[in-house]
């Protein structure tokens, strides 16, 4: 069902795109139609695919590291009130600094390679995951906790057996948001300074007025981002298997 809807939406968007090109009569170097873009995509498939893999690797690495760090910080804040009082402001401050402003610095410090892009992605992913998971950990049904205490459970057993599983749905929604925004980090990083990746390739094509290639790279990026999102969504549904779909 979802694939049917997705195809209908895609075809609809492509049709609107074609209509806009037709009505405005834009030259191909301003707004190429779907057909030239498809041609460019096929002609440069290998190059595009190479760059796409770099971007995918950056996003996935960012997601894995970012969500692990996010989960760990949420657990640390849960475990220690005093640490929480110090960590929470740091997290909020870190979010007040725009990642886009940090990008040039990160490239300067970490170089043109994948490191700076992964760090960008981690910075973007980290906060939604931490915030959502921490919120979930704190909002455990109070009566479950009370029942656990009457059962003589230690706080760590309650954390492991009750609080963490109870917070997994919240963690999953945090990770979904993170997956949706993760490509921003990688692409911005590539724009600021890199030698590979879809962001780099788009800048490169832009400089040469190869607008059809820019669009081809963009289409590939959107596809990759969508596939990643649905993959994460599917995994999260497996992990929080007890949640019933509305």
């Amino acid at each position: 069902m979802i694939f049917l809807r997705l195809s209908v939406i895609s075809i609809g968007l492509i049709l609107i795109w074609q209509v806009v090109v037709y009505l405005t009569g834009s030259p191909p170097y301003i707004l190429p139609g779907p057909l030239p873009v498809a041609k460019a995509l096929i002609a440069k498939w290998e190059t595009l695919w190479f760059h796409a893999w770099i971007t995918i690797a950056e996003i996935v690495a960012g997601l894995v590291i970012g969500s692990l760090l996010g989960a760990a910080s949420a657990l640390i804040m849960m475990a220690s009130r005093s640490l929480k009082r110090w960590l929470l402001p740091v997290f909020v401050i870190s979010q007040a600094v725009p990642v886009f402003a940090l990008a040039p610095l990160l490239v300067l410090w970490l170089g043109y390679g994948m490191g700076s892009k992964i760090t960008m992605a981690v910075l973007i992913i980290f906060f939604p995951v931490t915030a959502a998971f921490y919120d979930g950990l704190r909002r455990t049904e109070p009566e479950w906790l009370e029942l656990g205490r009457v059962m003589n459970a230690s706080p760590s057993a309650i954390l492991y057996h009750v609080r963490i599983p109870a917070a997994l749905p919240a963690f999953a929604s945090g990770l979904r948001v993170a997956t949706a925004v993760a490509p921003i980090g990688a692409i911005v990083g590539e724009w600021v300074g890199s030698s590979a990746g879809l962001g780099f390739y788009m800048l490169h094509a832009n400089a040469r007025m190869q607008t059809d290639l820019m669009f081809a790279a963009l289409a590939l990026l959107v596809t990759v981002a969508l596939i990643l999102y649905f993959l994460v969504d599917w995994m999260m549904k497996k992990i929080v298997y007890w949640q019933i779909e509305e």
Binding site: E143, W144, L147, M151, A153, L168
Partner: protein
Amino acid sequence: MVNFLTFADAPGVMLENVSFSFSGAMLFSSLDFEIKGGQWTCLLGPSGCGKSTLLRLISGSLREGFSGTIRFGGVKETKGQTAWMAQKDLLLPWLTVLNNVLMGARLRGEVSGQRVETAISLLKAVGLGHCTNELPATLSGGMRQRVALVRTLMEDRPVILMDEPFSALDALTRIKLQNLAAELVQGATVLLVTHDPLEALRLGHRIYVMTGSPTRLGRVVLPPGQPPRNLDNPAISAMHARLLEQLVVTV
């Protein structure tokens, strides 16, 4: 009849000089109260009179604002004495029925083959032998509360605190579960709080009405015969009328 759980010599609970205040309001003031061992004691009262609070004080999960002494058969140690059954079934949605029943053992790291066997035979005894591996979401309200009852029994504690565990069920399911509970916890010391006088008359060896502010306990009511009682006895009906009267006065 299930006979692998025996609550022999379950201790009584003595509350001496118990006071409790919550955000400035005195809920209990120097309350003395004895809960007889091995019997069902029912506390009747309107909402907000402190029934649940009293259970929490006895279970030891509420300490702030509390003063006084609570003894279990002469011992002043709440740990490991009580099991708790609430109005909500409190089943963990990610655990199967069997693992929910074993929740206490899992939390304490005490799961053993023997416990699993006991859990399965108890589940069979309450008619849930066929759904040990189901998730709670697939069960009806009555089935879920039966799972909660088995989880409470699995704790194997001499004192069982029940906070209106039957009140969310429909009438027929409620009577069945009351009978099941009465049968399975025989010999344990049970403190049941409820706002339903008929429930108290069906199940209680001793019934108290909670009144006033700070809350006091009325004179003990001793319904004739052994619980679970049929309610067709005229003496019970008369008691029901008197209890209702007392409750109406307190509201």
